[in-house]
């Protein structure tokens, strides 16, 4: 055989037939040049298009390369193939018949196992007797692949004699399953084909019925199992056929797949009507069904138990014991039905039933507790409304770090995890106090230099982490000054966002550190409310004066924004008005001073000043009207529903227009940036995009969080589910001591309770509880916001119902009852969808709190609510309750 180059030249310039003829003449061991051919094969078929610089080899006949590949390749090459190469002129059977490779069987089994799609290409090999037909499960999966079946690659004889029965043993997975095939196959489904075979007598009907039940007993997933139950039903078993399989249906009631249980229940119900079941066996088999989650399934099981008890009084005791099991359901309807059964058959006289029932009494719906207690012979539970979940702790002091070691340790810690904004602020304060010493201690600073450098090189570093890392880097390498927002992270840091403020504040601190000063950070919060006490700031500023250092504008602006509302009497402090910074502090305390020239500082001072009365001198600094810059921002909530053209889809739109309208995006201004957020433009959120960033931003103006919560509303995407949803950061202020809740805050809570993401809803539920526990949230504000969102009818009401139920169960029954009461004030045509659950909850809460729905607006609303089912049922119950 010639050298590689010659051989490749021969392959590239010959036809497939010629190459086959030449190579087939050689014994398998003498067919060399495998490595070179393999490379050619890859270049020709696999990689040339992926490599922009590579030239596609010039080949006369691509079949020639495939033939050469099969003739010379190793098993490793073959196993790396993801598909069987396509041949234009030379059939695969001809190649394998001529070459007779020793590895044919191994190759075929490997390819079929790896990719059932390959069956279409490889079936001719075993049909021609060149290898044996593979026996593994993958061959069966091939039947589940639409394209393979369409090519008629698989033999009908094999199918009917053997393979079809393995359909019921091999469930498959991913794209290969009967369920998946039939879902996309329109009428050409396997189900239809097997039904035809059965109808024509080519497949044994009885065996098909049994095999489908066998499959349902296997551990197939819900999606896959669905095909077998549908197929069994499609066979339409006769009464006799069902009777023959009565035991199997009863067994399937214990399936772990809820739709399989529902399927079995239908057959069991039919059999029971014919009295074809042993009643004892039936009652025993109902155990798992009575504790199922699906209400319909449990109700059906209760009906069966009831029928058994009616037919045979001797079994009434057993039937009642089974009914008790259903009381574990959270659904009041199921509980009521179970109690009906117990009551009807004299459960109150049955000691065993009473004993079992007593366990459940306290866990039932409030409207059923008294009845259950009477049946159980137990005491009627006193209103067991639990105490509200613990309120957030009283403000805890934020202690500055004590020494150099603690400062470096905390800074390294927040570099890794910055979710606690107080730790971040303590860390920066630590740098302000001990940075000068650290910078001189090479051993102490070296871990920070290394780590900060590593973080800054990471491609996906978040804004806050970048700011912290840059602060650490600049501290450890003072020769290179702090980067600007534009320089940092190649433009990833929003130059008017919260982290730009953070960066500017840290740069100011590092300038003092570089000067060798040990000064406190002015904006370090004094306690866990996030505020800075007036006397503390009044004490920190003189330290700067004594050191001859002018405080940083951003640091002081933040300190003023965080200034506690109490003790604003300027005369109580020794206020120097020599510098602009001192004047700004005095102004924040309510003193009259000369204004300017730094707009940002004065906007912050104005925001901190009690009353926020319009001050034209401040607005004049900006040369345009800006929100909260000398004149208060006015916000209002707009909740609306949008419908798709077809009416099939609907979604919510929430806007919070602010006046004066913000037109600029150029300034770093702590007083301003929350108003820069625009809905639908996630990148324009000032607080940032991660939990840590948002939590840090929540500390910017803790005494008036309304603008922050405006952004919280605009930032929320109610349809998004994330494993670590950052918007939960917007709820952090609720878990700290803080001011009373305003209009925007109640809206945030309600909006977040309506999110699809369960983690956001759960956090919002706790935030509501915390706000109620601290009396910061009035039922009126909460109810008004709830009404706004529910009546917009843009999100499923069920989400709010579920969350309100959880909040009520955690001790806020009265508050939730009152809030729902405020929702029930709408005209019949404005009735939102899915209101039945809310009415049921309202009914249960009215019962448990003893607050009857007496208000005229509620009664008027209830009279007018249209709809049947649950809506009608609880509308009537509520009206009855009101009359009572």
């Amino acid at each position: 055989m010639r050298e590689d180059e010659d051989f490749l030249s021969f392959v590239c310039s010959s036809s497939g037939a010629d190459v086959l003829k030449t190579l087939a003449a050689l014994p398998e061991k003498e067919r060399r040049h495998g490595k070179a051919v393999s490379m050619l094969f890859r270049k020709a078929f696999l990689t040339w298009f992926a490599d922009g610089d590579a030239e596609k080899p010039v080949i006369k006949d691509p079949d020639a390369v495939v033939v050469a590949f099969f003739a010379t390749c190793s098993m490793t090459d073959l196993k790396s193939l993801r598909f069987v190469p396509h041949l234009k002129r030379v059939p695969l059977t001809e190649i394998f018949a001529a070459l007779r490779p020793s590895w044919t069987q191994e190759f075929v089994e490997h390819m079929v196992d790896k990719n059932p799609h390959a069956i279409a290409s490889l079936a001719p090999l075993w049909k021609a007797g060149l290898c044996e037909r593979p026996k593994g499960d993958a061959l069966i999966l091939g039947y589940y692949e639409y394209a393979v079946w369409r090519t008629s690659a698989l033999e009908e004889r094999n199918l009917l004699e053997r393979d079809v029965w393995r359909f019921f043993e091999v469930g498959g997975g991913g794209e290969y399953s009967l369920a998946n095939h039939d879902k996309f196959a329109k009428s050409a489904t396997w189900s239809n084909r097997l039904l035809k075979y059965s109808a024509s007598g080519r497949l044994d009907r009885q065996r098909l019925l049994d095999a489908s039940l066998d499959a349902l007993e296997r551990d197939f997933s819900q999606y896959i199992a669905g095909w077998y139950s549908r197929f069994h039903s499609a066979l339409q078993p006769t009464n006799e056929e069902q009777r023959d399989r009565a035991r199997r249906y009863l067994t399937l009631l214990s399936s772990a797949i809820p739709p399989t249980v529902s399927f079995a229940m239908k057959h069991v119900q039919a059999l029971e009507k014919e009295s074809a079941l042993d009643p004892l066996d039936l009652l025993e088999a109902l155990n798992p069904v009575l504790q199922a989650r699906a209400k319909g399934t449990v109700m059906a099981a209760l009906k069966l138990a009831e029928r058994v008890a009616k037919k045979d009084a001797a079994l009434a005791g057993r039937a009642m014991s089974k009914a008790v099991l259903a009381l574990v359901s959270e659904d009041a309807g199921v509980q009521s039905k179970a109690l009906d059964l117990i009551e009807a058959f004299g459960g109150a006289e049955d000691e065993a039933v009473r004993s079992d029932l007593a366990v459940y009494v306290d866990l039932l719906a409030p409207s059923l507790r008294e009845r259950a207690a009477r049946l159980a012979g137990a005491r009627t539970p006193v209103d067991t409304a639990s105490a509200l979940a613990p309120a957030p702790e009283a403000a805890q002091p934020v202690e500055p770090v004590a020494n150099t070691a603690a400062a470096i340790s905390l800074f390294l810690q927040v570099l890794e995890d910055a979710r606690d904004p107080f730790a971040v602020e303590r860390a920066i304060d630590g740098i302000a106090r001990f940075g000068a010493e650290l910078a001189d201690n090479e051993i102490a600073i070296s871990p920070l230099r290394k780590r900060a450098g590593q973080i800054l090189k990471l491609p996906a570093t978040t804004g806050l982490r970048m700011v912290l890392a840059e602060t650490g880097r600049a501290l450890a390498s003072p020769d290179a000054p702090m980067a600007t927002p534009e320089e940092l992270g190649q433009g990833k840091l929003d130059p008017v966002g919260a982290q730009a403020v953070h960066l500017a504040r840290n740069a100011e601190i590092l300038r003092h550190v570089a000067g060798g000063y040990r000064l406190p950070m002015l904006s370090l919060p004094c306690d866990s409310s996030g505020t800075v006490m007036v006397e503390t700031l009044a004490g920190r500023l003189p330290e700067y004066r004594a050191a001859g250092v002018t405080p940083g504008i951003t640091d002081l602006s933040l300190a003023l924004m965080r200034l506690q509302s109490e003790r604003r009497n300027g005369q109580a402090y020794d206020l120097s008005c020599e510098h602009e910074t001192d004047r700004a502090f005095a102004y924040a305390l309510g003193e009259e001073v000369a204004i300017g020239p730094n707009p940002s500082l004065w906007a912050a001072a104005w925001r901190a000043r009690p009353g926020n009365a319009v001050d034209d001198r401040i607005t004049a600094l900006f040369k345009e009207d800006l929100p909260n810059c000398g004149a208060p921002a006015r916000m209002h909530l707009e909740v609306d529903r949008k419908d798709s053209e077809s009416g099939e889809f609907r979604w919510i739109t929430v806007q919070v227009p602010t006046t004066p309208i913000m037109r600029t995006r150029k300034r770093i201004l702590p007083a301003l940036f929350f108003h820069q957020a625009k809905n639908a433009y996630f990148s324009e959120l000032g607080s940032g995009h991660t939990f840590a960033e948002i939590a840090w931003a929540s500390l910017i103006h803790p005494t008036d969080p309304e603008p922050f919560f405006r952004e919280a509303i605009l930032a929320q995407d109610t349809y998004q589910k994330l494993s670590d949803n950052p918007t939960r950061g917007y709820l952090e202020p609720f878990f700290r001591p803080g001011p009373n809740v305003g209009q925007m805050v109640a809206a945030v809570l309600v909006y977040y309770l309506g999110c699809e993401d369960a983690s956001v809803r759960a956090r919002a539920e706790d935030a509501v509880l915390a706000a109620f526990a601290t009396d910061r949230l009035e039922e009126a504000a909460f109810g008004a916001a709830l009404r706004t969102f529910i009546l917009a009818d843009a999100l499923p009401t069920g989400r709010w119902t579920k969350s309100l139920k959880a909040i009520a169960a955690a001790g806020a029954e009265q508050q939730v009852r009152d809030a729902i009461g405020r929702v029930l004030d709408f005209s019949p045509e404005a009735t939102p969808r899915d209101i039945g659950g809310l009415l049921e909850l309202f009914f249960e809460l009215c019962t448990s709190t003893g607050s009857l729905p007496e208000q005229a607006a509620i009664l008027r609303c209830l009279w007018g609510i249209p709809g049947g089912g649950k809506v009608s049922k609880f509308r009537k119950k509520l009206l009855d309750l009101a009359e009572a």
């Binding site: 551990d219 574990v328 470096i408 051993i443 290394k450 706790d766």
Partner: protein, 444 residues
């Protein structure tokens, strides 16, 4: 990622068959017990068959689960291992470990759960196919269920004589985690106990989908409360979907006992059926394997293996290893025995039973010898010591690591370090390599 190829080799599939006495669950094991003509570890009748069957199914479910898939692994075919069965003098245990290494499960069958006719002590893998899992769901309270574990229980399967062989690459972290979880369990303390109905309600109320956010579970006034806020007496919970395996069994249990490891945040959820107990142990986060918790690193870093050898010599398939008895037999102190037991657990020779508060002897049927030397943190620490980059300076130490010098200093909670690993994990996940290096040097 380092992995050991383990071939699970069985003479046939495990089966649940109809027999003359009812139904027979024949679990085919990899190994055969020594000195047993029948080739069986166990032959028994299940006295509470529905619980046993559902418990075994739960073990198998966890073994076949992956609660977290690292992005790099998405394309990889995930193969699963099989449960491990241990037959001891008074208990039979089936244990398993999830593919993601974050969840451990064990079913303990005590003597009053089985009517044993043949018993040979030992540990082995048992085959658990999908078909068997499905069949187990059909076992009811009244089913007469025989249970056997043996290498030759099923010799002829479909298509004649059939050997089942499953080659599964078992990542080293999986093997290490499976062993080390015992040490995490040993450090746990009880928190609360939910009565049956409260437990059922609690499990039914958990989110149906994947929920990886931090939750806290507390118990008061007869009900469990789940919150996103930490409250007094609450246990941490993340990845609640891992608890779902308990739901079908809760109706049959007396109560649900909850334990927590305060250091790592791992929790144990045990369903008590009286004669059987099902333990589900969750690591603090579903993406965190037990192998990385490093609770035993300080213990196994010690070069002194004398105590370990002495204690190992005393192991004889005990269901309860009593430290006082061991102290008497070996002449070691309780503290030395405690260290030795932790090290033996970490190499797969012991399990821990929270109910009795004792270790029990079993030998994980994998090649654990190779695992011993593959702990990356320990390896790196030894490397630092060997390079001479650790300097003791008073009560602190300096460790040179590339371009930085890390300071290791003592604190009330233990050693502290200035490395990123310590900054991120603190003491929660064992010592960092720098602390370990200092410990090794001080130990020399």
């Amino acid at each position: 990622m380092a992995a050991l190829d383990h071939a699970f080799r069985y003479s046939g599939p495990s089966k649940l068959r109809d027999s003359a006495d009812g139904r027979a669950l024949a679990l085919v094991s990899e190994a055969a017990p020594e000195s047993s003509e029948s080739g069986r570890f166990l032959s028994a009748k299940a006295l509470v068959p529905d619980v046993t069957a559902k418990g075994l199914r739960a073990v198998s479910d966890i073994v076949g689960s992956r609660f977290y898939v690292p992005p790099a692994m998405l394309a990889r075919i995930l193969r699963e291992a099989d449960p491990v069965a241990t037959v001891g003098p008074s208990a039979v245990r089936f244990e398993g470990f999830s593919a993601c290494c974050s969840t451990y499960i064990r079913l303990d069958l005590y003597d009053d759960a089985l009517e044993v006719s043949e018993r040979r002590h030992g540990t082995t893998n048992v085959d658990f196919g999908a078909e068997l899992r499905g069949a187990l769901a059909s076992v009811g309270r009244e089913t007469a269920l025989g249970l056997s574990i043996g290498a030759r229980d099923v010799t002829v399967a479909r298509d004649g004589h059939e050997i089942i062989e499953k080659k599964v690459p078992l990542p080293v972290r999986w093997l290490k985690g499976f062993a080390e979880v015992q040490v995490v369990i040993a450090e746990m303390e009880p928190v609360f106990r939910l009565p049956r109905v409260a437990a059922q309600r609690y499990l039914r109320a958990l989110p149906r989908g994947k929920a990886d956010h931090q939750l806290w579970v507390s118990y008061a006034g007869g009900t469990a409360r789940v919150s996103t806020r930490e409250t007094q007496g609450a246990v941490p919970l993340r990845g609640v979907q891992r608890l779902r395996v308990l739901e079908p069994l809760t109706a049959l249990a007396n109560d649900l006992q909850v334990h927590v490891n305060q250091r790592t945040g791992a929790t144990s959820w045990a369903l008590d059926f009286g004669s059987q107990r099902l333990w589900l142990v969750l690591n603090a986060e579903p993406w965190r394997g037990f192998s990385g918790d490093g609770g035993v690193l300080s213990k196994i870093a010690s070069e002194d293996d004398t105590a370990v050898a002495a204690v190992r010599a005393q192991l004889n398939w005990q269901d309860r290893i009593d430290m006082t008895t061991l102290a008497g037999a070996t002449g070691l102190t309780i503290s030395e025995i405690s260290r030795a037991l932790a090290k033996l657990a970490a190499i797969g020779l012991l399990g821990f039973d929270l109910h009795s508060g004792c270790y029990f002897h079993r030998v994980l049927p994998f090649d654990m010898k190779r695992v011993e030397g593959l702990n990356p943190r320990l390896k790196a620490a030894r490397g630092l010591v060997d390079k001479g980059t650790v300097y003791i300076k008073g009560d602190s130490a300096l460790v040179e690591s590339e371009t930085a010098v890390h300071t290791v200093s003592p604190s009330e909670e233990g050693w502290r370090c200035t490395c990123p690993w310590f900054a991120k994990n603190g003491i929660e996940r064992g010592p960092c390599k720098h602390v370990l290096a200092v410990e090794i040097l001080l130990d020399q």
